[in-house]
């Protein structure tokens, strides 16, 4: 069976689900951030697959992927800076213990 659009979309969905599980179920804030990067990568695979199979000559999906990468890099930098800053003040990065703003 030849590889088609569906294969890439299912692979993307599997990676996104793994990332979703990690983001919801983990305590360590860095692991949560890693899961979010995993989800962004899964979305990028779907974008490139659509670009390759639906409109092969327009490359719009690949341009979107470049902008997603820019936003992901900014998000990783700011997110890790926040985690390090929280660790300095509270000596923990357990997401269940960082509940200062919890009502």
């Amino acid at each position: 069976m030849a590889i088609g659009l569906e294969h890439y979309l299912i692979l993307s969905a599997v990676l996104f689900s793994i990332g979703l599980y990690g983001a919801l179920a983990k305590r360590n804030a860095i692991v949560i951030l890693m899961s979010i990067e995993l989800m962004l990568n899964a979305v990028n695979i779907a974008m490139v697959a659509f670009s390759r199979y639906i409109v092969p000559l327009l490359l719009t999906g690949q341009v979107f992927v470049i902008f997603i990468m820019v936003v992901a890099a900014a998000e990783a930098a700011v997110g890790l800076a926040i985690i390090i800053s929280i660790y300095r003040y509270r000596e923990t990065i357990d997401a269940t213990k960082i509940d200062l703003m919890k009502w």
Partner: protein, 162 residues
């Protein structure tokens, strides 16, 4: 034939590496398997004939973001405590499974209008034309550096010693 073998090998390795990220107890090993997962995603881009994106993926994710994550792990000695799951583990698993089922159902039941045209290769000149040319994406290209500048300044302000 070669494309099929490459796709299946990359997909299996990528999914195992992604599972290792969320299941391994050692945070540092989880970060290393995240790097492996990023590399397989770069390979997937090559099978999709997106050569420029594969290079960018290796440069930004494998090169920069993984170093950033490993540095943060080193700075926050949480390695000994590992990465335990919180009490939402089972609901999170169910939500992820439901999401996967829903997306798989939608993907397999949609009549995609797949184009038979062979894709562009190399893609770099075409991408440059789209990003910087007339009627392209020049406004987002101008806004992206502003976002990066704000992120850099924010990161510096957040981690600076008071």
């Amino acid at each position: 034939m070669g494309l099929e073998i490459a796709f299946w090998a990359l997909a299996v390795v990528g999914i195992i590496a992604a599972l290792a990220v969320v299941l391994l107890g050692d945070v540092f090993r989880a970060a290393l398997s995240l790097v492996l997962c990023f590399l397989t995603v770069a390979g997937i881009y090559i099978t999709l004939s997106a050569d420029f994106l594969a290079a960018v993926q290796v440069l930004i994710y494998v090169g920069a973001i993984s170093v950033l994550i490993i540095l943060a792990i080193m700075l926050t000695r949480e390695v000994q405590r590992g990465s335990p799951a919180n009490r939402l583990q089972i609901p999170a698993f169910i939500v992820a499974l439901l999401f996967l089922g829903g997306v798989a159902f939608a993907v397999l039941n949609t009549p995609w209008q797949v184009s038979e045209v062979t894709p562009l290769e190399p893609t770099t000149p075409a991408l440059a034309g789209l990003l910087f040319g007339e009627g392209g994406f020049i406004l987002p290209v101008e806004i992206a550096p502003l976002l990066l500048l704000a992120a850099i300044l924010g990161a510096i302000v957040l981690v600076r010693e008071k």
